[in-house]
């Protein structure tokens, strides 16, 4: 347990970037302190043992309660394509959907810095509540606090979601042979936020893709729930983090074909300019699925018919032929050469020099 003393004296931004360091910190500093019998509720529940988008509590009769919580902070608070409120509501809804659950209710805890404009707060809450309402999700409770000026940078929203499911999607069910599908362009949110933060006068012409995926996932779950073995939204850390997480949890090898991953040309160019891998950039309105191979084409067609025109099969899950290969993600680059797709590590900062 000297892990943190050896490498880190202080918490860094990298620990909160959603990459390798976040995972290490969560596992070593939090999960290990919880007695394993309290990692989940119920024999076939899912909790800290799964570290999935949502936790699952069995309700009996094959039904499950799905619960998720996340805290949301973004700079700028109002960004092209959305704001903090929409981000929090969408994130909460999507985390439930990715567990195969129908979102039902949410609770929020808002912490605001003294001196924060009420008008801005009003806009954010309007957007949060509005997004929930549009998706028929109730807001059933919450909390509001103010911190003295300077002790918090603006505003942070913690949002919890509750849903129900009879076909929970737990990523550890991903198996060799499964096809990896994405619902659309990746990295739009990350690129839009970076462009807004950098302020080097780049007009990217790309907005954040932040949105709830209810219109995609509910029909998909209705029709194909038993064929969807894994689902995730590639938020912080992007596709690279998500598929690495899957490969590691299941001890498989995942192969991604870069040429088939939909990324907008301007996002690709911008990321390249900054020295950031577009596959590590966050999306806030995209889903990644691992599905049974026999239904993969059909599922993609169905997703396209729902208006997700860029939906594509981008890869496949393989059985590791050597123990050392377990948990690795292989990327066939656009040129046909292969490399390891590493999970993003370190603070995702653009290079400057």
């Amino acid at each position: 347990m000297t892990w943190y003393i050896r490498l880190w004296k202080f918490v860094t931004l990298a620990h909160g970037a959603g990459g390798k360091e976040t995972e290490e910190l969560v596992r070593n500093l939090i999960v290990q302190k919880v007695p394993p019998e309290l990692w989940k509720v119920g024999e076939d529940g899912a909790g800290l043992d799964a570290l999935d988008d949502s936790a699952l509590i069995p309700l009996g009769g094959g039904r499950y309660l799905a619960v998720t919580v996340d805290s949301y902070t973004v700079k700028p608070i109002f960004f092209p394509g959305g704001d903090l409120g929409k981000l929090a509501a969408s994130g909460t809804i999507n985390d439930l959907l990715m567990a195969g659950a129908r979102p039902v209710a949410a609770l929020d805890a808002i912490v605001v810095e003294e001196g924060f404009p009420v008008e801005d707060l009003n806009k954010i809450v309007e957007s949060y509540v509005g997004t929930l309402a549009e998706n028929r999700v109730a807001l059933i409770g919450g909390d509001f606090k103010t911190m003295p000026k300077g002790q918090l940078d603006g505003i942070v929203i913690a949002s919890m979601g509750i849903g129900f499911t009879e076909h929970p999607i737990v990523d550890r069910n991903i198996r060799p042979g499964d096809k990896i599908i994405v619902s659309g362009y990746l990295g739009d949110h990350g690129a839009a936020i970076l462009a807004a933060q950098q302020a080097v006068g780049v007009d990217l012409g790309v907005e954040s893709d932040v949105k709830p995926l209810t219109d995609l996932m509910l029909p998909l779950l209705d029709r194909y729930a038993s064929y969807i073995h894994g689902a995730g939204d590639p938020t912080r850390g992007g596709l690279a983090m998500l598929v690495n997480d899957w490969a590691e949890k299941t001890g498989t090898v995942i192969v991604i074909d870069e040429a088939r991953v939909p990324v907008r040309p301007q996002v690709k160019e911008y990321a390249e300019m900054l020295g950031v891998d577009p596959l590590s950039l966050a999306s806030e309105g995209a889903a990644v699925l691992a599905v049974a191979p026999e239904k993969a084409e059909e599922i993609v067609e169905f997703m396209r018919s729902l208006g997700y025109e860029q939906a594509s099969i981008i890869g496949e899950v393989y059985e590791a032929k050597d123990p050392r290969h377990r948990g690795r993600v292989l990327l066939r680059s656009v040129t046909g050469g292969v490399r390891i797709l590493e999970p993003p590590s370190g603070e995702i900062v653009p290079r400057i020099c």
Binding site: R339, R351, I352, C353
Partner: protein, 411 residues
């Protein structure tokens, strides 16, 4: 991806539409074109190997951005067994001596504003991890005055506005040197801004690198494209004339690099080393003469220290006396490093110097991805995005990808 060459003295050129540029770019990355070149490489490699009489044939990509292209696009996985691509000393941040980082940290903590490029901001000096203030990033966390800028012009602008005493940390190869030289020669550097000139030159370190590869010499050089836009292709004539090594100035797209490798193998197979400019869309024989003159005007070439390596003859730039008023060494009475005082400046166990010279691979270092990761960099080659260790860490270099692909039967 790379240091942008200073845009100086350029004739306003033809600028195609974005969609045309995109088409050109996708062509230079196209799988079918790559396959055709790779097929030729595979045919030529045995012929070249027979003529050379030793395998693997070591081809050095000098530039950090070339190493990025090679690793990011999985180009090593496409090579026949006869060919080995080796990374060279092309990361200007990695080779900046710890001494200058320490100097800048000290200044920042003494109330002098330090302006730095982003890569050098995280570069560790000689401090120990977890105990000392190791980098300008940590100096800022400890209350030091450090500002990250994109160019010396940003520093000039800020220094004019705030009137604070400041020092710009001028690191880099011939690509960034003209950007430093130009405002100095133009006389627009304000009195409250000094420059610590740590610029280094690439041809001397290439020469030095050849000397360290004795047992299996370097058989081909992919010469740096961006540096060559400034120094011109002519700067690499000595590689062919004195060392007989085939040399190709190359661009940074996968097809550029593959064409360079193909050309090197062709020359080896024929036994006729030449200097070829594959990157003629950006590089001329003479280079950017105006930029060269600018550097020549304000700087002299001096013996200079390289991190973990020591002094390399005539490999650095220093301000001439007539420009000493902008020289931070002069303004702040900083002692210049001497060969007698230079001490090995890599942290214990770090193999960055060997990685820089292409003698060791990042995966040969016992610290690589153990205690030295992009999140917790220990040595300088893990800090800059052009450092070979950082490139391998981010894009999984080291041969595992090829191994897995073969085991799955997809290659």
């Amino acid at each position: 991806m790379a240091e942008q060459p200073a845009g100086m003295g350029g004739v306003p050129g033809y600028r195609p539409e974005a969609s045309v540029l995109r088409d050109i770019e996708s062509m230079l990355r196209s799988r079918s074109l790559v396959e055709r070149i790779v097929e030729k490489i595979k045919r030529l490699a045995p012929l070249a190997a027979r003529r050379v009489g030793q395998t693997p044939i070591k081809i050095m990509d000098f530039c950090g951005t070339h190493e990025y292209t090679v690793t990011h696009y999985g180009i090593r996985s496409l090579m026949p067994p006869e060919v080995e691509i080796v990374a060279g000393p092309g990361c200007p941040v990695c080779i900046t001596p710890a001494y200058y980082v320490d100097v800048m940290i000290k200044l920042s903590l003494e109330g002098v504003r330090v302006y730095t490029y982003g890569d050098a901001y995280k570069l560790p000096g000689s401090g120990r991890r977890g105990r000392d203030i190791r980098s300008l990033e940590e100096a800022r966390a400890a209350g030091g005055d450090v500002v990250v800028v994109y160019s010396v012009l940003d520093a000039i602008k800020m220094a004019r506005e705030d009137d604070k005493p400041g020092v710009f940390f001028a690191v880099g190869f011939e690509t960034t040197a003209p950007a430093t030289a130009s405002p100095v020669v133009a006389g627009i550097v304000p009195k409250n801004l000094a420059i610590l000139n740590v610029h280094r030159l690439t041809p001397p370190i290439m020469r030095y690198t050849f000397e360290t590869h004795r047992d299996n010499p370097i058989r081909g050089v992919i010469a740096p494209g961006h540096v060559s836009t400034i120094v011109g292709a002519k700067a690499w004539r000595f590689v062919v004339e004195e060392y007989g090594i085939p040399t190709v100035v190359a661009g940074f797209e996968p097809v550029d690099v593959l064409l360079a490798i193909l050309e090197i193998l062709r020359q080896l197979a024929e036994g006729k080393p030449r200097l070829v400019n594959e990157y003629s869309r950006a590089v001329t024989w003479e280079g950017n003469v105006k930029a060269q003159r600018m550097i020549e005007e304000c700087c002299e070439v001096v013996d200079a220290a390289w991190r973990g390596i020591g002094f390399v003859p005539r490999s650095g730039l220093a301000f001439r006396d007539k420009y000493r008023e902008v020289d931070a060494l002069h303004q702040y009475g900083i002692k210049e490093l001497t060969p007698e005082e230079w001490r090995y400046d890599l942290p214990p166990g770090c193999r960055c110097a060997e990685v820089t010279l292409g003698i060791a691979k990042p995966t040969d270092c016992p610290l690589f991805m153990k205690t030295c990761t992009p999140g917790t960099p220990y040595g300088p080659c893990m800090v800059s995005s052009e450092g070979a260790c950082a490139v391998w860490a981010r894009f999984g270099g080291g041969g595992l990808a090829e191994e897995i692909a073969r085991s799955l039967g997809i290659m």
